[in-house]
Amino acid sequence: MKSVVLYHEKVKKVIDNINEVMIGKEEVAVLSLAALLARGHILLEDVPGVGKTMLVRTLAKSLDCDFKRIQFTPDLLPSDVTGVSIYNPKTLEFEFRGGPILGNIVLADEINRTSPKTQSSLLEGMEEKSVTVDGNTIQLSQPFFVMATQNPIEYEGTYPLPEAQLDRFILKLNMGYPSMADELEMLERMSRNHPIETISPVMTKEELVSIQEEVKDVYVDQNVQQYIVNLVKATRENENIFLGVSPRGSIALMSVAKALAFIYGRDYVIPDDVKFMSPYVLSHRIILNSRAQYEGKTSEDIVRSIVEQTFVPIRKEFS
């Protein structure tokens, strides 16, 4: 994932922008972009302070999108997310004041800190691309991209997302700490201006939407589809897994693989795309059985081992 990779010219600038701000986070940038292009949403699970917010902000700024942030707290109400109708004495009418969900790029910080009711108001929006407030259905603006974060350390007073809702996120990512060199360079850059101040938008909303349309047209050959199905099927048959990946997971995997292929300037998906995406797409969609959990295995490990055991299609019947 280093600089030798050739990106599609339309997305290259976005990735460059993120590289400007986020040092050593190109992979996360590519993954986020892939989720965005696949019209999916991301769950970022990491400790505070590694740059989750900065990533989203950079992305929003580069795309010239409306950036909204929701800091989830236990007392947050669904209306704080979706918006509320307020009576206007002048017009004698209720006027709808849109909540943060109406932005293009929404950072849902510490989503597990709020009550399930509030969580589901966001999740419903993510799934339906619309919210219903006071009987009015409001279409969310396009593009619409939610990046939710979770803190894996402090579980006290949290409401972990149910599995069914995790499924709504197309990818689950970890930021991870930067390497020593990257962190040194970060300090160097921060000593002057914050880099996010210097970057400028490189793409309009309209362009982004049209790219999202293009991504849909990326070709997935039958043998690659078969590969995806084989991977997903393997999660359902694995001895360590209590619940395997749903068909929604297959679709998600294909969508992000398409987006990744697009990012790399291809109009067709290769098994490498699928293989690269699998851990991010599949690991939050499986539930390990108690034995595997007791043995200390993580979902990522299991998914990676499944990927390492699934044969890649390298032959095709030509009529």
Binding site: Y219, D221, D267, Y268, I270, V312, I314, R315, F318
Partner: protein, 745 residues
């Protein structure tokens, strides 16, 4: 100390290796004497040794050139010139000879090349080989191909020529095993650049090699081996190529010494062996054999020989019949053909005296009745001689009298192999059962072949007994066709199963009478002149009768007994009269039947064959054919080895052609997968879980390039994108070829 210097192999060991190479090369030279007409092989071997020695000493190239060139000239001089080495005249002759040959070469007149020139070329070849073997054994230390070729060469020679490579193979095995062990070890040491104290640790590496070679040689030599599953491929090859019958081989007809493997087809050869001037027709006997092996005849091992001075010998002690037999003193004259090499006397029954050139000795083999002619201790043909002999006429009544056989006769001449099939015995029993005396029994068996109507006289498609088949059994019950050897051997064995002493006699029939009235050689006393050719070589049966001795019988169809028989009381017994008539009227059958040729195919001792080759077209034509098959087989074997060694290149070539021709997705796919296959063979296989890109990166790192990734990107277009346009990209086949070349190396 410099590690490289330490690991340099001491020259004493490379010399050892080179000497092994020299001895293996000698195995190429040894057979040449036997399979060609090359004499003086010893000199060539000495020259080879000389060349190898000079290469071994690694003298400067110009000195080596001068020494080897001088060696060649010296050998040529020794071989062909009688003048002194310092005499300039021979050099002059030599130069003229070279010029002449050069002309012949440019005119493509291959047969015009002289012996001098051929020897010169051969010497140069040895020179080149000494260089090549030095290169293979000492410089690059890659000798496997040479060793493989040596084995192929020896086995081809062993199979297709008279050369017996049994010992040779063992020698080559030991030498090559040793050399392979040494080269492998030396290569390893050189490659790893390990410091190695050669002399101190000699026992550590030399002893294992030696002991393994020794052990495997002993085990290989001593271990029980299967008999050849396919003892003689020649008939099969001939059959497959349509050049011959199903027999052992097409042999040249003629007298030969080795009868240990009878059977097989042969070609006729009417080259004259000798001319006989004799008053009557009779068998020209040479020797008898009495040990039947199931495959053929062998001489009794404990031969007792006596040597006589020919001119002092007025009563040759060969007494095949008793003094009671009626005889007539006659004289015959034998004139050997100039081309014949037959250092044995051909003689009629009752030989008493030989009149010939002085100085010859005769070595008489008391058991086989063979009379070998020698001159100053060496086997030499006797050009012409007169024989005084007592021509016997056997009394049939006398023969019918029974008597007891002497013990030494009955024990020696009733031998049959232990594994002789029971049915031979049974058949003989059935045939002889009605008769009560030995003569009638013998007669019954003699006539069985003709009377049963089952047997036909053939010289082609005669099988050779294989495995545990018995020659007689095969003829009597399976093939039922054959020539004199089949008939006579079968009769001897059938008689022996009935306890009747019998032996196998061989020589020539009387030959063809020269009918020319003007022939001035017709002797005044009314003798006729007979021309005896190779085709007249024959074998017949001798049966022992207690009062009479050995009496010839003629079971072969189309031949009649050349011996005289009579009865005291004519007409007293119809059968006897008939027998006697038959016996006494031989000419009609033998000579009027053009189909029947007299013959005795033999795998002749090499000396006969070589002699004949020059003189007679049929024989050399045949030899040529046999050589063709040998060489063809060898070449085919080489081709197979070559194809096997180069199989990946051949496949790569075919795939490249296919890509060029068809240019479709399938051909690109098979080409790409072929590449994966050869990479796997090289130990860089792709894991099934690896994607093509991941693998291509690995391969590119390995071969420090980017061809594999580029090629893979192209293949991905086909595989995952259904994009056929990529096939128009002419770079892909080029990338592929480069990679294949890199991988195959």
């Amino acid at each position: 100390m410099n590690a490289l210097k330490v690991s340099k192999i001491p020259s004493v060991f490379t010399s050892l290796l080179y000497i092994c190479g020299f001895f293996i090369f000698l195995e190429w030279l040894y057979p040449i004497k036997q399979i060609t007409e090359t004499n003086e092989m010893g000199l060539f071997i000495v020259f080879a040794g000389f060349c190898f020695l000079i290469s071994l000493l690694e003298v400067r190239w110009w000195l080596s050139f001068i020494l080897k060139g001088a060696g060649i000239l010296f050998i040529i001089h020794v071989l062909f010139y009688e003048q002194s080495l310092l005499d300039i005249a021979w050099v002059h002759d030599f130069v003229i000879d070279i010029l002449y040959n050069w002309q012949a070469l440019t005119n493509q007149e291959w047969y015009e090349l002289t012996a001098i020139f051929r020897s010169l070329l051969f010497l140069i070849l040895i020179w080149l080989m000494s260089y090549l073997i030095h290169y293979w054994f000492v410089t690059v230390k890659r000798i496997f191909l040479f060793i493989l070729l040596t084995f192929v060469y020896l086995s081809v020679l062993d199979t297709f020529t008279v050369y017996d490579a049994t010992r040779s193979i063992i020698r080559v095995f030991i030498l090559s095993f040793l050399s392979l062990g040494l080269t492998n070890f030396f290569n390893e040491v050189e490659r790893e650049v390990v410091p190695f104290k050669w002399t101190k640790r000699m026992s550590r590496w030399l002893i294992p090699i030696l002991s393994i070679v020794l052990l495997s040689s002993v085990v290989g030599y001593a271990a029980p081996k299967f008999s050849p599953q396919w003892p003689d491929p020649v008939p099969f090859i001939q059959h497959a190529t349509g050049t011959g019958g199903s027999g052992k081989t097409i042999q040249k007809v003629g007298y030969g010494e080795d009868d240990s493997h009878l059977g097989g087809s042969f070609v006729q050869d009417n080259a004259r062996v000798f001319t006989a001037i004799a008053p009557s027709e009779n068998y020209w006997r040479i020797e008898t054999k009495d040990v039947y092996t199931g495959k053929g005849w062998e001489a009794e091992p404990d031969e007792t020989k006596e040597t006589y001075m020919l001119d002092s010998l007025n009563n040759i002690p060969i007494n095949t019949f008793s003094d009671d037999v009626e005889t007539q003193k006659l004289q015959a004259r034998i004139e050997m053909d100039a081309a014949t090499y037959l250092p044995k006397l051909v003689y009629p029954y009752g030989i008493r005296e030989v009149l010939a050139e002085r100085g010859f000795d005769i070595e008489l083999n008391m058991h086989s009745d063979e009379l070998r002619t020698m001159y100053s201790g060496k086997d030499t043909s006797l050009a012409d001689y007169n024989i005084i002999y007592d021509d016997p006429s056997f009394d049939i009544d006398e023969l019918k009298n029974d008597g007891d056989d002497p013990v030494e006769i009955s024990s020696r001449y009733t031998q049959v192999p232990d594994d002789l099939p029971e049915r031979v015995d049974q058949l003989a029993e059935d045939i002889t059962e009605p008769y009560d005396n030995r003569y009638d029994k013998a007669k019954a068996i003699e006539q069985h072949f003709g009377q049963s109507g089952e047997f036909t006289y053939e010289t082609e498609d005669i099988p050779v007994p294989k495995g545990d088949e018995d020659y007689v059994d095969q003829f009597l019950f399976d093939s039922k066709k054959g020539y004199c050897d089949n008939y006579s051997t079968s009769m001897v064995i059938m008689l022996r199963t009935q306890g009747i002493p019998a032996r196998w006699a061989k020589g020539f029939t009387s030959g063809n009478r020269v009918v020319n009235e003007d022939n001035d050689r017709i002797s005044p006393d009314g003798s006729d002149v007979y021309e005896v050719t190779n085709a007249n070589a024959h074998s017949w049966v001798e049966v022992y009768f207690p009062d009479t001795g050995w009496v010839p019988f003629e079971p072969t169809q189309g031949f009649s007994n050349l011996a005289d028989f009579h009865t005291e009381v004519a007409g007293s017994d119809e059968d006897d009269a008939l027998d006697a008539n038959e016996a006494e009227g031989p000419e009609t059958e033998t000579e009027d039947d053009p189909e029947v040729e007299e013959d005795d195919p033999e795998i002749g001792g090499p000396e006969y064959e070589e002699d004949d080759e020059d003189k007679d077209d049929v024989a050399s034509g045949f030899t040529l054919k046999k050589w063709h098959i040998g060489v063809g087989g060898g070449l085919f074997g080489l081709l197979l080895v070559f194809a096997f060694v180069r199989r990946y290149r051949i496949q790569a070539y075919l795939l490249a052609k296919k890509m060029e021709r068809e240019g479709d997705a399938a051909s690109l796919q098979s080409a790409y997968h072929f590449l994966l296959k050869i990479l796997t063979k090289k130990g860089n296989g792709k894991d099934p879980q690896q994607t093509l890109r991941e693998y291509a990166k690995e391969i590119d790192v390995l071969y420090s390039g980017s061809s594999m990734s580029l090629l893979t990107a192209g293949y991905e277009q086909i595989l995952y994108n259904n994009n056929k346009e990529v096939l128009n990209n002419t770079e892909l086949p080029e990338l592929w070829k480069d990679l294949v070349n890199q991988v195959i190396g």
